[in-house]
Symmetry: C2
Subunit: 388 residues, 2 copies
């Protein structure tokens, strides 16, 4: 089987073998509906209860604070739209570098009378402290700032931002799908600082697609996005995706058990990668900020990111030219635009995101192939310029 | 392994072995994000395209009319709430026997200014023609009537109802999750009659939990319930659950290929079952109506349904006392209430729903165990009455 080197772990991750093994019984003999009052149903309910405990333990929350959803996008939409549904429309603040599944629901709320403030970021992608203080004067009733950016890997100081927002009395949410498994994450600590909700997702941490969670302070009033049979304490109806939820539980336990080792290992590999990138003349976005240990987002002078990603793909390396979810849309990244990166530089952006299974040999191979590709493309560009 | 006889197929179904086989590659080496522009991503995109064609072919629709969601509840919420979001609030009509995931979103819309008309049903559970004509005079702009009821199996004449509603210009939706795989289903034919949207779900037809679809006439304007990266033509954002969608495609193909044979087989088994039930003195709900061939919903005189289900479970037979999704709520069924069944009779309701793998020997065993259980419970009841 053709198996290119996978360096796109921020888009999605391979299922850990132990996760698949845990899921398989729930994809065969143990197929019950957790709401059913017979042995098949009870077994499924017990499995979900266990997964809820595993996810809760992994994120430092209580099991009753875990609301399972079908994915991170659903969890973010659930929080923003359905907390808004329980409030009088006022001011809503989200950072300018949020994922589209935070930006778009926030924009939908504008049509319902909410005033949206996008929090400006500095050149490294961090929420600008001065601009933030200004927005807080408007007392936003809903705030959402991601833990780590999916494109740059740049971290926000969510606890400090939440603490500053506290006096305003708003609900503070953080999309942490890129944080979990890469850095320590504690809802209890964040909650103490003033964070009321976190989004985490299975398929970013070696778990399956189809399961995620909103970790929710129970003081937050929320109407369901998907109403019906009253599952998930009435907050999310629909037959639970038992195999995916079971897989999420195991993946969360594994990810957290390995987070310290993985962090060290990935940071070392990323340093090796970026040393090579800089030697090739790359500009690395957000390099001066605290970042996820696995993410490197860069541009090579004069080269188009899409073209480079295509060449690398054919050479056996799977990397991204931008956030996977918006790859259908070849506009320059809104994250880089918010960081003040010029569109012609932003069009060169390439993201490499490492995983647990990435090796130093793969990074070395990648750098060699990248060098050859860059030289080839630059020669072509030079020839075109000469001919013109 | 303890494996009771499973007679609860309207709650959920075992995964067909061919479905699991088709899913497995997407749970191991083929783990890409379909939005990624590298080989892993393209392979996942092709798999989703193929599944979309399979589901479209199975329901007689065009692939571009298939909007994948995480489940039937999401699809029903998506249609009702997000078609409503594109309309001026007016009148909305849903049948009195709809699943909670239609009833609850309809009730949520009332808070947004919609007037909800619940369509009365007759004693057999069919939408009452006279009452329907009355409601149509109010020109409902949104209508939802299920194809087959999950509790009774009673069929609605959706095409005729939709045709009658046409002059009013509203959007007509039908929850068909219980129809697919049990009876022939053609969106093209229904669409010609005036049905604009159908909900179908994988886990009711031998497919996995976590995948369903809204089959949607493209003239219907719909805002996304889950907004973000713009997946599913902008109607449903979030990384696609590739393994579940692949499984859905295969399950839909299989279910439709077998629908005629299965129908005949299940009708024969159900006849055997109901002959035995009537001999034991059971009242069968909706017996005079056209029903799904696999569903039997009945009550034994003087016996509580929950108690009976518990006894049958311990004796090795998995059946339901009501809709699985609302089993957490031991109130008498709203479906039976709408049919005019007295609460004390409705409390006795037990649902047996057969599957492809159900055998005549299992039905015979079930009837024997039921008889013994009923006699035992009736003797206990008689003793209590004597003692009182």
């Amino acid at each position: 089987m053709f198996a290119p080197v996978y360096l796109d772990h921020n888009a999605t991750t391979p299922l850990a073998p132990a996760v698949l093994e845990a899921m398989l019984p729930w994809l065969s003999g143990q197929f019950g509906n957790p709401s059913s009052r017979h042995e098949y149903g009870r077994a499924a309910r017990r499995a979900i209860d266990e997964a809820r405990q595993q996810v809760a333990a992994a994120v430092g929350a209580h099991p009753t604070e875990v609301v399972f959803t079908s994915g991170g996008s659903e969890a973010n939409n659930l929080f923003l739209k359905r907390a808004a549904a329980c409030l009088r429309p006022s001011v809503l603040a989200v950072s300018a570098v949020e994922h589209p599944c935070v930006v778009k629901p926030a924009e939908q709320l504008v049509r319902q009378g909410w005033q949206l403030r996008k929090l400006a970021v500095d050149g490294e992608g961090r929420v600008d402290a001065e601009a933030y203080r200004c927005v807080l004067q408007d007392k936003p009733q809903l705030l959402s700032v991601m833990g780590a950016n999916n494109e740059t890997g740049v971290l926000q100081d969510v606890a400090t931002l939440a603490e500053a927002a506290r006096a305003g009395g708003g609900w503070f949410h953080s999309d942490a799908v890129q944080m979990l498994g890469k850095l320590p994450l504690s809802f209890r600590e964040l909650n103490t600082a003033g964070v009321h909700a976190l989004t985490v997702s299975a398929h970013k941490i070696g778990g399956p697609k189809g399961a995620a969670a909103l970790i929710l302070d129970k003081r937050v009033e929320l109407a369901p996005l998907i109403a019906g049979g009253g599952h998930e304490r009435g907050l999310r109806s629909g037959t639970e995706n038992v195999p995916a939820i079971v897989g999420f539980g195991v993946a969360a336990s594994l990810a957290v058990a390995r987070v310290a080792d993985c962090g060290v290992q990935m940071a070392a590999l990323r340093a090796q990668l970026e040393l090579g990138l800089v030697a090739l003349g790359a500009r690395i976005f957000g390099a001066a900020a605290s970042r996820l240990p696995n993410t490197s987002y860069f541009a090579m002078p004069q080269l188009d990111g899409e073209t480079l990603v295509g060449k690398l793909d054919r050479a056996g390396f799977a990397v991204a030219s931008g956030a996977a979810c918006s790859s259908a849309n070849p506009e320059p990244s809104h994250v880089l635009a918010a960081m003040g990166v010029a569109p012609d530089v932003a069009r060169g952006a390439v993201r490499v995101s490492l995983g647990r299974e990435t090796t130093a040999a793969q990074i070395e191979d990648f750098l060699n192939v990248l060098q050859a590709t860059v030289v080839g493309l630059q020669q072509m560009t030079a020839m075109k310029l000469d001919a013109a």
